[in-house]
């Protein structure tokens, strides 16, 4: 997956490039709007991460230029200004998503993956499986090592999210928004407790642990050795 980062803040740019590289993406970095436009028009990218405040050509203009030339690459823009107008303007100009600075890197990763997944119209699975954990979406049933586990509706939704995003670190804010529709900074304790309870049912009684805490980032469901 090839990404383009357009960011003039030196440290932010470098860390984004490094972080995304380490997350398995091939990320190019442009430090000005014009460089960004050149790269975007001459190379095939799967996604562009665009800062709004840029020298030479700002994020809005860059986005407009790209769209005018028929380039429909998904664009996620980063803004330091939390203004409704800014967001609306970005989305109207054809951006696909936005993040307000400062943001959690795990949140950015999750958004990037969502955007990349979008458009790939894969068949909705009826069954999810990670190692010996099975989740039947039709029968709403969970099996671990062949044993049936009883989950509440929200626990089921949480497990489904983590299994669908197997191997991705999910920030607490994303979990709150996807499972409980809490789209604001809420009490993060709640997520900790909810994950702990899910673990108590899915992991604790079994030798193979699948749900892991990534300190400072969030939670991930994956099989580890």
């Amino acid at each position: 997956m090839k990404l383009l980062i357009v960011e003039d803040e030196v440290k932010t740019g470098d860390y984004l490039q490094q972080g995304l590289g380490e997350a398995g993406f091939n990320a190019d970095l442009a430090r000005t709007g014009l460089d960004g436009l050149n790269l975007a028009m001459n190379q095939p990218y799967d996604l562009i991460i665009l800062d709004v405040m840029l020298p030479e050509l700002d994020g809005w203009q860059l986005l407009q230029a790209i769209r005018k030339r028929g380039n429909e690459v998904p664009v996620l823009f980063l803004t330091a200004r939390d203004e409704v107008d800014d967001r609306v303007r970005g989305l109207e100009l054809g951006a696909d998503d936005y993040l307000i600075k400062p943001f959690a890197f795990s949140e950015l990763l999750a958004r990037i993956r969502s955007l990349l997944r979008r458009g790939r119209s894969s068949q909705e699975p009826t069954r999810l499986q990670v190692a010996d954990l099975e989740l039947d979406l039709v029968k709403r049933r969970v099996l671990k090592a062949g044993e049936r586990i009883d989950l509440t509706a929200k626990e089921f939704a949480l497990l489904e999210l983590m299994m669908r995003r197997e191997g991705e670190v999910l920030p607490r804010s994303l979990i709150a928004s996807q499972v409980w529709d809490m789209n604001f900074d809420s009490d993060t304790n709640v997520i900790e407790v909810a994950v702990r309870r899910l673990r108590a049912k899915v992991d604790d009684p079994y030798p193979r642990k699948l749900i892991h805490t990534v300190r400072g980032m969030g939670y991930v469901l994956e099989e580890r050795d």
Binding site: D82, V84, I100, P102, A104, K154, A176, W180, D181, M182, N183, F184, D185, S186, D187, N189, V190, V193, A194, R197, R215, G216, M217
Partner: protein, 459 residues
């Protein structure tokens, strides 16, 4: 049109009023003087005519009567300006002291003998006033017509002179009253200058200055009061702003100092990868807290300017609370706190913001409710407002704390930063800002180990 100062305006008005008054006064004076001249002239003429008539009547006695001409020459004609003429009814002129044609109607005079007729006329440039009377000639002699005329040029000259002097006086008087007007206006507007001087002394550091309402005239007192109230509001906002800035600095200092110390200590010697990971993870936690605090403060800063609701929709409040209960269920369960709700009601507003406001209250309630405690919510759809009451069991909050509960960074336990689960200290301020943005009102009561927040939203 340029704005004219009040003093100038008043002075001009004063001058205009003076001009009007003096002009009408001058006109009246001139008119009455003229009247007086007319009356005086005619009185003189009448007198002359009567004297002449007596003379003429007395003439008839005696054997060798002196001619009228003689008598007149000797007795009556002593005054240059009065011209006398005596005509006989048959047409002959018996006497004339000057060459004037009198425009009298003889027939009328003769029909009413003894009655004086008056008139005025011009001959060339000269204006005359005249009087005439018919008398019986006696002893068969024909009836006589006595006429007298007076030239009025001298009056005209006088009046012209007088008018000239009068206008001069009027101009001077007008100027004088304009000057007086200016002085009066200045004097009258002195309180305004006082207010200005006071207002001038109000600065950011001296916002406590107020206009002296007691010493200001009634007309301006209400204005002064309003201005004072404005100063009150400004002072309050300003001091809030000042406190806010210092609170921000204070609140940011602790996590930043933690971060700095921790990072510097860890850099002081080489450590294992695991130790580095621990440190970084701990740093991230501090940073997340900082970041949350900043976005909360930005939200409040925006709310200060009057929060604009991103959307307005109609929604059922009880459904939102069910959703929030769902969210907090696990946490409440773990703390062994029960949550329940009664009632239902519709609300118009931004769903996300209302969720956030109630979420803050619920989160607090769970934090402060003891084990086995109860949190209960009550929605009441009243006639003019929708009320949501959130009550939780827990230590009574002292009265003095209640007042500041909605203030930023206010924590009644004063355990700042001691508890890892502690919020940013902005939750209740945010809740209040959101409720206010919806035109609502939030209040709190605490007694008998029960604390209740009441949110009311007028329809």
């Amino acid at each position: 049109m340029p704005i004219v100062s009040l003093t100038t305006r008043l002075t001009l008005l004063f001058a205009l009023v003076s001009i009007a008054v003096f002009a009408s006064l001058g006109f009246l004076i001139k008119h009455s003087i003229e009247e007086h001249f007319v009356a005086q002239d005619f009185a003189e003429l009448d007198d002359k005519i009567r004297t002449t008539a007596n003379l003429v009547k007395n003439l008839k006695t005696g054997e060798n009567p002196p001619s009228i001409h003689e008598v007149m020459e000797n007795t009556v004609v002593d005054h240059d300006s009065i011209i006398i003429k005596i005509d006989s009814s048959s047409g002959g002129q018996l006497f004339a002291s000057g060459p004037i044609a009198f425009p009298f109607n003889k027939t009328q005079l003769l029909n009413k003998p003894g009655q004086i007729q008056r008139t005025a006329w011009n001959e060339g440039d000269i204006r005359y006033r005249g009087a005439a009377m018919a008398i019986a000639g006696g002893d068969g002699r024909p009836r006589l017509i006595l006429s007298a005329a007076i030239e009025t040029t001298r009056h005209r000259v006088f009046m012209q002179q007088f008018a000239k002097e009068l206008s001069g006086l009027m101009v001077a008087a007008t100027l004088f009253s304009a000057l007086l007007g200016w002085l009066v206006a200045r004097q009258g507007l002195a309180p305004l200058r006082l207010m200005r001087a006071k207002a001038k002394s109000v600065t950011a550091t001296r916002l406590d200055q107020r206009l002296p309402v007691e010493t200001i005239p009634a007309e301006l007192a209400t204005l002064a009061q309003e201005l004072n109230r404005m100063f009150d509001r400004l002072e309050e906002s300003f001091s809030r702003l000042t406190h806010f800035s210092s609170d921000i600095a204070h609140e940011l200092r602790t996590p930043i100092s933690n971060l700095m110390t921790q990072t510097q200590v860890s850099l002081s010697r080489a450590r294992s990868t695991q130790e580095y990971q621990e440190i970084l993870a701990s740093n991230v936690e501090e940073l997340e807290k900082l970041s949350r605090m900043i976005s909360d403060m930005l939200f409040l800063a925006k709310a200060e300017h009057g929060l604009e609701l991103p959307s307005r929709e109609h929604f059922a409040l009880e459904l939102e609370i069910v959703k929030l209960f769902d969210f907090y269920e696990a946490l409440a369960d773990e703390r062994q706190v029960r949550m329940q709700m009664q009632g239902s009601g519709e609300l118009i507003g931004d769903r996300l913001m209302i969720d956030r406001a109630i979420s803050n209250l619920l989160s607090n309630a769970i934090r402060y409710t003891p084990e086995d405690g109860l949190i209960d919510l009550h929605i009441e759809q009243g006639i003019d407002a929708l009320t949501l009451t959130i009550c939780n069991e827990g230590k009574t909050i002292p009265e003095q704390d209640l007042t500041y509960l909605f203030d930023r960074f206010y924590r009644c336990d004063q355990a700042r930063g001691h508890n890892e689960t502690e919020g940013t200290g902005l939750g209740l301020s945010i809740t209040r800002a959101i409720v206010n943005a919806h035109g609502g009102h939030i209040s709190v009561k605490s007694a008998n180990n029960r604390t209740c927040f009441t949110l009311s939203f007028p329809h």
